[in-house]
């Protein structure tokens, strides 16, 4: 057992008991209990003393037992609390269903090797220009990670990239430029759609709870300008640091699309679902309703087998659900207002505050899970935006936190995409830190400074 986990196992019970036995000024009994649960979540998610999804389930259980209307340890009379089912409902929150539909599409794409073949098809013609090849790899990686997990995308693309670099002489700069470009694009790309990565979904769900409902394309309008900007920026940094020279390189173009009936059926469902998501403003059917479409259809058609169902990343869904349940409890017990009252936020200009939230998210997610960071920070950020002392736009706050969580690309341990790229042995820690650090910081700053202007020009601000 690592020392960090041990610290977590010792600290979690301590931080749990403290608010329960000590009288916390300004908090009622329910608030004190919620503080105990919040601190446990914080400690366990940071130290990973339990698997992330185990902590998420623990949070739901503790809230049902301690801060629901049916709490097993009774609360003083007159305390208004949610029915216990409100916490269970997080497990079937519309955003969880949206993610589930996204997982069906992503796992299907992996099963039929759609992404691998598509990547080779798109990159084949770019061998003539190594610089464009790097940009192409980044564009394809970002595109895939908008619909698949950043991790699965990185694994697929690193495999494609390794096939290219294997043919190059040992000192060729593409040997570094290509592997380093993949995690940058995969992390940033996850921000591009609500299902691209859990932080995006978490931001969207919390916005919906706060009364700001966004269509699939509205989220894309918010994030895509900055995803594109950050990608180009990342490309410029990579090309500047590792100029690959003009010589043509070989891109293996062996492409073999699965042409079985089931594969065609899957391709059709994939395209229809994505088109329906993108055309929500035309037909008005919410993305969370469209998102359920692939589930019964692919199951009934036998395209998705029982093994495929068992192989779905349920743990990710549960991690997100735990976070949503946590934000329900934090809001219902008034813990959010109390936590925010600890700091004199109003002394900060709104713009600086938004940037600060983004940087805090970036810092946290550099060392802990992106999803756990979003689970902890998005609800607090939105409560902050809603408090009268601060004049911050909720949309800006949610998007910037999601962006901070998604741009953790400084250390190999920050996210699995980084770890996968680092495992190729082609990059030094310094390479990733330089490219990832510059790209993330400039990207976040650009979003903070230009965000409101760009969004009001695009008409996505309410």
């Amino acid at each position: 057992m690592t020392r960090t986990r041990l610290v977590g196992l010792v600290a979690a019970p301590v931080v749990f008991v403290l608010p329960l036995v000590a009288d916390v000024p300004g908090l009622g009994v329910a608030g004190e209990r919620m503080l105990a649960i919040f601190l446990v979540a914080l400690v366990l998610w940071v130290t990973e003393a339990f698997p992330l999804h185990a902590t998420a389930m623990l949070i739901i259980g503790l809230q049902v037992a301690l801060v629901s209307e049916q709490a097993v340890v009774a609360l003083p009379g007159g305390t208004e609390l949610p029915h216990f089912s409100a916490f269970y409902q997080a497990l079937a929150h519309p955003i969880i269903v949206l993610l589930l539909g996204g997982f069906f599409l992503a796992d299907g794409a992996a099963k039929y090797r759609l992404t691998r073949n598509f990547a080779r098809l798109l990159l084949g013609p770019l061998g003539g220009s190594p610089r464009l090849l790097v940009l192409g790899v980044m564009a394809v990686t970002a595109l895939f990670s908008m619909f698949m997990s950043n991790t699965a995308t990185s694994a697929t693309m690193i495999a494609v990239v390794l096939a290219v670099t294997a043919t190059l002489p040992p000192e060729h700069r593409l040997r570094v430029a290509l592997p380093v470009s993949v995690p940058v694009a995969a992390n940033v790309g996850g921000l591009g759609t609500p299902i691209g990565s859990p932080p995006s979904a978490i931001a969207l769900a919390n916005l919906a709870e706060a009364g700001v409902r966004l269509a699939f394309v509205e989220w894309m309008l918010l994030t895509m300008p900055f995803v594109l900007l950050t990608l180009v920026l990342g490309w410029v940094v990579i090309i500047a640091l590792f100029p690959p020279g003009p010589a043509r390189v070989e891109v293996p173009i062996e492409v073999s699309f699965d042409r079985s009936g089931k594969a065609w059926f899957f391709y059709a469902v994939f395209v229809i679902t994505v088109l329906l998501w993108l055309s929500e403003p035309v037909h008005g059917v919410e993305s969370t309703i469209v998102g359920f479409l692939p589930v019964p259809v692919l199951l009934a058609a036998g395209v998705f087998t029982l093994d495929d169902v068992a192989g779905l990343r349920w743990n990710v869904l549960w991690l997100v659900a735990g976070g949503l349940a946590l934000s329900t409890g934090v809001a219902a017990t008034g813990l959010d207002a109390w936590l925010l009252g600890l700091v004199g936020w109003h002394t900060l200009p709104a713009l600086l505050l938004v940037l600060l939230l983004g940087v805090v998210a970036l810092g946290f997610s550099t060392v802990i899970s992106n999803s756990a960071t979003a689970n902890l920070l998005v609800p607090l950020g939105l409560s902050l935006a809603a408090s009268p002392a601060v004049a911050a736009e909720p949309l800006a706050v949610a998007v910037i936190i999601a962006a901070g969580c998604s741009m953790a690309m400084i250390l190999p341990v920050s996210t699995p995409p980084n770890a996968i790229a680092y495992a190729t042995g082609a990059l030094r820690i310094k390479d990733l830190a330089t490219v990832g650090g510059i790209t993330a910081l400039v990207g976040l700053t650009a979003m903070t400074v230009l965000g409101l202007q760009v969004w009001s020009t695009l008409g996505v601000l309410p």
Partner: protein
Amino acid sequence: MRELVILCVEDEPEVRTVLVRDLEPFARAARIEEMTDAAEAREVIATLATAGDQVGLVLCDHRLPGLRGVDFLVELQADPRTRAAKKVLVTGQAGLDDTIRALNEARIDHYIAKPWAVRDLQRIVRALLTDFVIEHADDLLPYVRVLDGERILEALSDRLDD
């Protein structure tokens, strides 16, 4: 971290030297242990088990002094410490009966005839070690470079989450 080990059981020193030299590319993924017969191999396996290391692959000659190769592989298949290891019989002289026993009772994963071609040996070892680490290793990242990167990346994406 638990270390991955390849066992080479071969009594002829020249052949053993060539075998270990041909396995050199895998030295970054696994420690290569040489031994001359079953008795010595048993000692090594006991030491490895105490140290907590994992036997991932056994390459075993058939004509060994003392216990024959096939019988030793059958023994390894019955031993919980080595049952998971991939087993390869490397020989020029196993009769039909021995070969059948090797398949049915030792559950060998491959049969390599002597003399072997380096490329074939390395291809087989790469595939078998990749199978082993995907099935049994706690951390796949160190193997991306040395073994079958594409299959390991695929397995990684199933294991890791954003």
